[in-house]
Symmetry: C2
Subunit: 350 residues, 2 copies
């Protein structure tokens, strides 16, 4: 198997602001896995705050390419992905890129999209939320108006101006909201009061109220909260899931954190068995990684798969959002085609 | 989709004796799922003590055939199998027959065996145990000698003569043993002493020491036992798995109890995430259900898939046991062919 990769800068349509930072682009890597004349596509999206970079991904892909060059059967996902995961700690986005490319290759070889190989009904995809970045009330009102085609909006909270932000949205839109505190809250009584108010604003769930390790405070809040609490930063990998039962009401599965589709699917299975709800999330990503995640979406309760909508230079076509709903293609693998007007990865594997 | 079924009596090569009963045949049902000219095979094995029968299976298949007649896509396993499961409580073997037939159909349509669709390496299959029924020391010695090709023997315990039985085997064989108490032990101190002795006889694990609901006694025993304890009767369905972590060391997954491959695979995923080991077991079954279970076997620690070796009228060829090891075929679906000299299911669906 031959692995190729090249850096790709995701240009954001609007600056993206959360409680801790603001940016206008996200670095990514596009990868291709070639074997027997067939190519599978993958992608690593690397928002800087998560610690991966072009340099770290290049180092990881170099080692992975060496490993894959010695393997002749992309179908052996269980073993190959375990070995890829063992190459180095972290590097979860780079690992996800390889997982996605391998899945794309296998699905293309079988002539079937993964939602079909997993036995899922493509009609059962959820609506996706659309994220409104933090901004002035005027701009947020404008963004909320412009997002009228979506049936669920997401807002990043964790600032003093949170209620003003929600009120600004509610002045122009009655679309249900989900909110992401991004670990931004510190006092649990304050958090409870905030959630009680949010519940009066047709907010449907709260992501990651406290710092990732504050599970005891989260369990305290969950017992009292009128809204379900979902783990994001507290839930990176499959091994995090068991301890979150009884602490959160659900988990947010993101391919870039959990190393890809194979582990992501296992996380959904385990979460369900432990009574946890599941949300499928993303970074800013092209239609490559979004379409991969969307293959899993008939299995989840909530989707937050707006990543490709936020960029202006998407090199792929695949899953689309139609009337606010995740809409799968019939294309094999992860269900994408490359747009012909964008150049291909050119870096060579070693 | 068209479902056909017919009763089939599995004739045992030797009478099969456990702590509670003895028999010379096992009733089964063979099913065929036909769609677009392609046929998938399935099987329900129904040892009488589990409560299913030709009558109960016929009633279930009649209802299932009606449901399947209204569905046009066997690939939609997630929804179809949920609906099949919801038709009636229990009937787990009948449900497994349909799950197996659907998987066989889908794999045949894709032209790939399920171990391949699941990304598993067929070289990673485990050795299987071979079960020696309870009998006189003379007969057991003879059986143990005759089983010299196997690398793991299984013995059903739970009688006063347990130690004499083990000693009889050890007088002629040094093959490692696993033992199944089949809920037969009642006193926990006695059980611990028995296990401590068994550990001196190269016994590798103990299945189901106490009655299925005695989880507290089992956890007590596990803390003290030199051998790992595996759940069999305590673990029927996926929903049983979470509460067994910390009580047992592992679970025994059997398709006839858990409704088939789809739920069985989920049980393995959940067990692993909770730190439980996994064993894949069976009833007396033809090579149809055994080959289906064997597709999962690269994922497990122990296999007890000798069911088809115990019958004299196997209508299928598929997974074989070679030098004691589960050996998968490259055939698509569940990996079987029907032997031409055996007649086919003739009952019609309604």
């Amino acid at each position: 198997m031959l692995l190729r990769w090249s850096p790709y800068t995701l240009e954001l349509r609007q600056p993206f602001t959360t409680a801790t930072q603001s940016r206008t682009a996200t670095p990514a890597m596009l990868v291709e896995l070639e074997h027997e004349g067939l190519i599978g596509h993958g992608e690593a999206s690397m928002p800087p705050y998560l610690g991966e970079s072009e340099a770290s991904a290049t180092a990881f892909f170099t080692a992975a390419a060496r490993l894959l060059a010695g393997r002749s059967d992309p179908f052996l996902l269980e073993d190959v992905l375990r070995e890829i995961d063992s190459l180095a700690p972290g590097n979860t986005a780079a690992k996800a890129a390889i997982d996605i490319a391998l899945h794309d290759w296998v699905g293309r070889r079988l002539g079937a999209p993964w939602h079909r190989l997993w036995g899922l009904d493509p009609a059962r995809t959820p609506v996706t939320s659309f994220t409104l970045g933090i901004d002035t009330p005027e701009v947020v009102r404008e963004k909320a108006r412009a997002a009228s085609e979506y049936r669920l909006l997401k807002v990043k909270l964790g600032r003093d101006s949170d209620r003003a932000l929600i009120s600004a949205i509610r002045s122009v839109s009655s679309t249900p909201l989900i909110v992401d505190a991004n670990q931004g809250w510190t006092d649990r009584e304050d958090a409870l009061r905030q959630i009680e108010w949010l519940a009066t604003q047709d907010v449907r769930l709260v992501e990651q109220p406290f710092a990732r390790d504050r599970l005891e405070d989260t369990a305290w809040l969950r017992e009292r909260s009128p809204l379900p609490l979902f783990a994001d930063e507290s839930c990176q990998r499959l091994s995090d899931v068991p301890r979150l039962a009884g602490v959160f009401d659900g988990i947010n599965v993101k391919l870039m954190k959990c190393t890809g589709l194979r582990e992501g699917r296992a996380m959904i299975t385990v979460a369900r068995a432990l009574g946890l709800k599941v949300m499928l999330g993303c970074m800013t990503e092209t239609s490559c990684a979004i379409s991969a995640a969307a293959q899993l979406s008939p299995l989840v309760d909530w989707a937050d798969l707006d990543g490709a909508l936020l960029i202006r230079n998407d090199p792929f076509e695949g899953t689309r959002i139609v009337d606010g709903k995740v809409t799968l293609t019939d294309l094999p693998g992860i269900g994408i085609v490359r747009r012909s007007d964008v150049c291909q990865p050119s870096a060579v594997s070693r």
